[in-house]
């Protein structure tokens, strides 16, 4: 609660940030100010397995019906198919609940994917939306020009019952980016660099709003990567204002009406972070925190060896990520004593990989290409690390114990860097081969 409790209504009516615009719309108020607590109408509510924990509180609330079944998505992803009895029970609770409530939009085994990717590729979140999900990386959907925020299951139960949520209007940090990403340098490197600057707690209770020519030039997939990791700065939401790319992306798939909103030119930001990506080199987040960011050249000099390499997660396992990694990995082999795990972000991406020959390409070189799921990202399903191991990963977190043993070391980097690291067995700079 470190943001000031702004005197409501008395603040000078300046321009509004995108966060203010979306939360005004959601709460039906003409103008809202940072610090104000509002009740927002929810446009989309998503859960993964954690939603199972919402079922009991939902019934304890004596709620009878979900407020709007067409605005509820269930997408199981952490343990798919169920890898433990506990996970099987979570899935079962959700299936029963979906049946009882008539929830139609259930992405079950066979039609599954990482929950955020499911929302993205099926057009469940559109510009101007207030979206909530039972996962901290729900921020990713802010790339649609929406206010997308992670919540816990009890709160999710309340949203299911009432279709609304209390939110404190955040102040925003503007991240303004110019310059051109060089070959071998990606949105992942940009966001890692941003986290290094803002730090893990630098955006707590705040929103990150991206702006600037570099952001406009990025594809939707790259914007997802950027917004996904605003969570690693503690941000409540991260967003990119909608533009022609957003509308094009959503043209055929948008599930409900768009109401695009934009920040005012005279909006007040808590601060602006200026970044110039000209000359930016690939970045690596080192153990044990996503803000422990160093340029890759420093690690290359130290010959950091790894035992596992993971190409997956909601951050970086879309087609462009897998294609870029494949470009480097083609015709190569995984280094001796290294395990290379590739996990696409959704079943449709899996199928596309099959069509394009990527599954063959990766497995020919000794990688294991898994079914789509969160996979090794969170240390609870597969690809778990032993205490003295190190892992290069395209995911988003490297806290102690994130992928297994608390001593294991995780290095976060781009898919291209991950691919070259798999070939060489030590952290490597993709610019050397591109």
């Amino acid at each position: 609660m470190s943001a000031p409790h702004a005197a409501q209504g008395t603040a000078a009516r300046g321009g509004a940030t995108l966060s203010q615009k979306i939360l005004s719309r959601a709460s039906g108020l003409e103008h809202v100010v940072p610090g104000q607590i509002v009740d927002g109408r929810v446009d989309l509510a998503m859960c993964h397995e954690q939603g199972a924990q919402a079922v009991l509180p939902f019934h304890q609330m004596e709620a009878k019906k979900v407020w709007d079944v067409d605005r509820v998505v269930v997408a199981i992803d952490h343990w798919v198919p169920a890898s433990t009895e506990g996970a099987a029970q979570l899935h079962q609770i959700l299936r029963h609940f979906a049946q009882e409530q008539g929830l139609k939009h259930f992405y079950d085994v066979g039609n599954h994917g990482i929950c955020h990717q499911i929302l993205a590729e099926h057009g469940w979140v559109v510009p101007g939306d207030l979206a909530v999900g039972t996962d901290s990386h729900t921020n990713m959907l802010g790339a649609m020009g929406a206010f997308a925020v992670g919540i816990g299951p009890t709160e999710y139960a309340a949203v299911l019952a009432l279709g609304k949520i209390w939110l404190k209007v955040p102040s925003s940090i503007k991240v303004e980016v110019k310059g051109k990403l060089a070959k071998g340098v990606y949105a992942k490197d940009l966001v890692l660099r941003t986290i290094g600057e803002v730090r893990c707690d630098g955006a707590r209770y705040k929103a990150i709003e991206y702006a600037g020519p570099t952001i406009s030039s990025l594809s939707m997939s790259e914007r997802f990567t950027l917004c996904n990791m605003t969570t690693e700065m503690g941000a409540k939401a991260g967003m990119v204002p909608p533009d022609s790319k957003t509308f094009e992306f959503l043209e055929k798939i948008a599930k409900h009406e768009m109401h695009p909103l934009y920040p005012d030119a005279d909006a007040t930001y808590e601060r602006t972070v200026h970044l110039d990506v000209d000359g930016l080199e690939p970045q690596v987040a080192c153990p044990y925190s996503p803000d422990n960011v160093r340029p890759i050249s420093a690690l290359v000099k130290e010959h950091v060896k790894v035992g596992q390499v993971f190409l997956g997660s909601c951050t970086n396992a879309r087609m462009d990520d897998l294609r870029e990694a494949a470009r480097i990995f083609k015709g190569e082999k995984v280094a001796p004593h290294v395990r290379f795990i590739v996990s696409p972000a959704s079943t449709s991406i899996y199928r596309q990989c099959l069509k394009e020959g990527l599954i063959e390409l990766f497995t020919d070189g000794g990688a294991v290409f898994t079914n789509s799921s969160c996979s090794a990202c969170f240390g609870g399903n597969m690809g778990i690390l032993a205490p003295d191991e190190a892992c290069a990963s395209s995911s988003n977190r490297n806290f102690p114990g994130r992928m297994g043993a608390k001593e294991a070391k995780i290095y976060l980097m781009s898919p291209a860097a991950v691919a070259l690291t798999a070939i060489r067995g030590e952290i490597s700079d993709p610019r050397e081969v591109l």
Binding site: M1, S2, H5, I37, E49, Q50, A52, Q53, L56, P57, Q60, M61, E62, A63, K64, K65, W67, H78, W79, T84, G86, A87, Q89, L90, T134, D135, S136, T138, G150, I151, G152, P153, T154, E155, A157, A158, A161, L162, G163, W166, C200, D201, R204, Y205, G234, K236, S289, F378, G379, G380, R397, F399, P400, G401, R402, K406
Partner: protein
């Protein structure tokens, strides 16, 4: 919700993330009593065995950062802790705690005035945290009325239940 909360203190450091509070391998557990057995097990294994009802956890900066897992505050609530006090909180952990009806108090500088085993007294409405053992205190901005109401009602479940009842049960 009592205005004054008092209890024995446990201490943890800065950036205690949700992976350390409850490891990923326990996420399929729903029962808070089961979760309680594994809370903080990589950080301080004695905690889950020896913490008792009414104890207070004092943390440093960015307490509960990381994932949205409600398992983390739910496990602490199952002890049940009297409160969690931190220099600062990560957003979702803070919300989850309050929604579960467990006071989460953000009091900058609080970590520095406590040692494990001290006695802590929190004056919720006045906005003061006192170390009774050492005679030190820090103040904090009291929770906004919206959140005090939530705690008062015992958490979000009860609040929504009342709201649904008032609105004639039909959402």
């Amino acid at each position: 919700m009592k205005d004054v909360i008092e209890g024995r203190v446990w201490c943890v450091g800065d950036e205690l993330d949700t992976d350390q509070l409850i490891a990923g391998k326990y996420l399929t557990i729903i029962d808070p009593k089961e979760l309680r057995k594994h809370v903080l097990e990589n950080v301080d294994p004695s905690f889950s065995q020896q913490a008792k009802e009414g104890d207070i956890l004092i943390a440093g900066e960015n307490m509960g950062c990381g994932s949205s897992r409600e398992h983390a505050p739910a496990a602490l609530k199952a002890i049940p802790l009297g409160a969690v006090v931190a220099n600062s909180f990560a957003r979702i952990f803070f919300r989850n705690s309050i929604n579960l009806g467990m006071p989460a108090i953000e009091a900058p500088g609080v970590r520095a005035i406590f040692q494990p085993g001290d006695t802590c007294r929190i004056f919720l409405r006045e906005g003061r945290v006192v170390n009774v053992t050492r005679g030190k205190e820090v103040s904090f901005p009291p929770l906004p009325s919206h959140l005090m109401d939530l705690l008062e009602q015992g958490g979000l479940v009860e609040k929504v239940r009342q709201e649904l009842k008032r609105s004639g049960a039909k959402p």
